[in-house]
């Protein structure tokens, strides 16, 4: 296995507040990794830095051991193969479910190619396959805005998969889901891992347990502990941070 993503000594502060403090993290190719931490631990900022939304003040962010992600913008990192799912599901509400997937398909993203794009049979098949995978094939013609909250989460995951990314960054996928939906989502993510690298940020401990993967605990923008869920749960510092002093 080789290193997919490497963060080394990353710092970022906002108006004197250190959101990320000497953060170092390594994720292997095909790995499923859960990142947990209390509010303000820097989880979202870390995702912003990986996807090029926020530039770190100092530190290295390397993709596939060669590409410097700090020089790339959001579209650039997406084109490299990093997909991101937001905490609050964001889909294109005034377009159909099918178009949402079609827009996300891995295609040439340049203006001219998009202007003169014609959908091939291959693309149609791929869209149908993805719609079936996220169980939205029966509502393919609906406006995405008319979907339920859980369906929007699934649609967003479908859009993520349509990009065929090497790395998926998933922010609190279980938020607002029923228990059954949560478990199904965990199962889906486990399925995806291996073929794709997946980083999940989550609060819900049951969900993290269901993922059954390596866990990184963030606290004040720094890695506090890393290992299996049972291992980090036993860590004194982690208990202190989570349960309070």
């Amino acid at each position: 296995m080789s290193v997919q993503l490497l963060l080394d000594g990353v710092n970022r502060s906002f108006d004197g507040f250190k959101a990320i403090n000497d953060l170092s993290l390594t994720v292997e190719k095909g790995e499923l990794r859960a990142i947990i931490g209390p509010n303000g631990a820097g989880k979202t900022t870390m995702m912003d830095i990986i996807t090029g939304k926020t530039r770190p003040d100092t530190g290295k962010v390397l993709w596939n051991q060669s590409v410097d992600l700090t020089r790339s913008d959001e579209a650039g990192t997406a084109r490299l193969g990093i997909g991101r799912k937001f905490q609050k599901p964001t889909v294109f509400e005034t377009q159909t479910v099918e178009d949402n997937i079609a827009l996300s398909l891995k295609e040439d993203r340049s203006v001219w190619a998009t202007l003169f794009y014609r959908r091939s049979a291959e693309d149609s098949a791929r869209i149908a396959e993805l719609l079936a995978l996220v169980k939205l094939d029966h509502v393919a013609g609906w406006m995405a805005g008319d979907l339920s909250h859980g369906q929007k989460q699934w649609l967003e995951i479908g859009m993520l998969l349509a990009q065929d990314p090497e790395l998926l960054l998933v922010d609190e996928p279980a938020a607002g889901m029923t228990d059954a939906e949560t478990m199904r989502t965990a199962e889906l993510l486990r399925q995806i891992a291996g073929k794709h690298t997946v980083i999940v940020v989550e609060h819900d401990m049951d969900f993290v347990r269901a993922l059954g993967c390596r866990v990184t605990v963030l606290h004040q923008g720094h890695v506090l502990a890393e290992g299996s869920l049972d291992h980090v749960s036993a860590n004194e510092q982690v208990i202190e941070v989570y349960l309070g002093r």
Partner: protein, 367 residues
């Protein structure tokens, strides 16, 4: 091409076609001239406004860019055509200077400024009527979109852009006729601008340009690129994370729209016979927005209808109750934004039981 003509586009184009045939026939061929010449000029003017409205709808309705400076692109197109018409006057001006327009002689200039060269050729002027607004939109958009100026901030700086241009064109030193602008045109391509046949011809050209503008805009918005534009309008940052360079798309549609506005301006000037810096005034540009909002943003056809409706209303009001026009226009702004978010077209279509056009989502809160 036919696939672009949906029901609402079909009805509108059919109506436009009837008008394009009936108006010149009524003006030129029938006895007693049932369509007086001033009506031809007036309708031609509205068609230019309609094309301008379509241009704005392309960026605002589909991409969420509320430009309060589209009047600037329109005026620049108009000035390009006006410069050609000035050169066509030739030695027939008051000062009978074969090369210099009257206002330059009046300012004691002894040679034509370099940027007036080439405008004696109609083709060059027409090219400039498209290229200059396009270039301004490119430069402005390249700066603005790259640094992610969006929402009301973008609206405010587009307004500042047209305001700065207005101040600039008011200056005599700019060489565009200063406060008075360009006027006293004689003819275009050898046809007298006073002749009914020329006016009818310009009217038909305006109608064709509007139809072409609508179809181009429809082609763009129906393509995958159109879907990306709507995606940007509704969820800009999601679109970025999927891998689309939002600034490139915005720039593309902004430039196309500016060129369309420039074409509208170029057709407008020979029909009204004057272009002056007042066309750059911020109030004019905001006026365009209400046409689009009234007709129904994001519908193209609605925008064109809105321009024609407001144009008619303005003509009627200013001749019957000039005092009341600003109350009516002001009230229209308030009424449409609060009670008619889908515009007239949305209202008609929902009354007729058709599916309303997808409502544009509220802008991402001023971010």
């Amino acid at each position: 091409m036919l696939s672009l003509i949906d029901r609402r586009m079909g009805i509108f184009l059919a109506g436009l076609f009837v008008l394009t045939v009936a108006v010149p026939v009524g003006n030129l061929a029938l006895d007693g001239q049932p369509v007086p010449s001033y009506i031809v000029a007036l309708l031609g003017k509205y068609l230019c406004y309609a094309l301008l409205a379509v241009a704005l709808d392309l960026v605002w309705g589909y991409c969420g860019i509320l430009s309060l400076g589209h009047g600037a692109f329109f005026a620049l197109g108009g000035y390009a055509m006006g410069m050609h018409l000035m050169r066509e006057i030739g030695p027939r001006g008051v000062y009978a200077n074969p090369l210099l327009p009257d206002f330059m002689v009046f300012l004691n200039w002894d040679s034509l400024p370099w940027y007036w060269l080439g405008f004696d050729m109609f083709g060059f002027a027409l090219l400039m009527a498209l290229a200059v607004p396009g270039l301004l939109a490119f430069v402005f958009g390249w700066f603005a979109f790259r640094s992610r100026v969006t929402g009301v901030y973008l609206s405010i700086i587009t307004q500042a852009m047209t305001y700065a241009l207005m101040l600039a064109f008011f200056r005599n030193e700019m060489g565009f006729g200063g406060y008075n602008g360009l006027t006293d045109f004689k003819d275009v391509l050898g046809f007298s601008l006073q002749a009914d046949t020329t006016r009818a011809g310009l009217f038909v050209l305006s109608a064709l340009a509007l139809a072409a503008g609508l179809l181009v805009a429809k082609a763009i918005t129906s393509s995958k690129l159109g879907k990306v534009l709507i995606a940007i309008r509704d969820a800009e940052s999601r679109t970025r994370f999927i891998g689309y360079r939002v600034e490139e798309y915005k720039l593309f549609v902004f430039v196309v729209s500016a060129m369309m506005a420039g074409l509208a301006g170029a057709l407008y000037v020979p029909q009204v016979g004057i272009i002056n810096p007042g066309e750059f005034s911020p109030a004019n540009s905001i006026g365009i927005v209400i046409w689009v909002a009234l007709g129904g943003r994001g519908t193209l056809v609605g925008a064109a209808m809105g321009a024609i409706i407001v144009g008619f209303a303005q003509t009627l009001f200013t001749s019957w109750f000039p005092e009341l026009w600003l109350f009516a226009l002001g009230g229209l702004f308030v009424f449409v934004t609060i009670f008619l978010p889908q515009g007239v077209l949305g209202l008609i279509e929902s009354r007729l039981g058709r599916k309303p056009p997808p409502a544009p989502a509220p802008e991402e809160a001023s971010a």
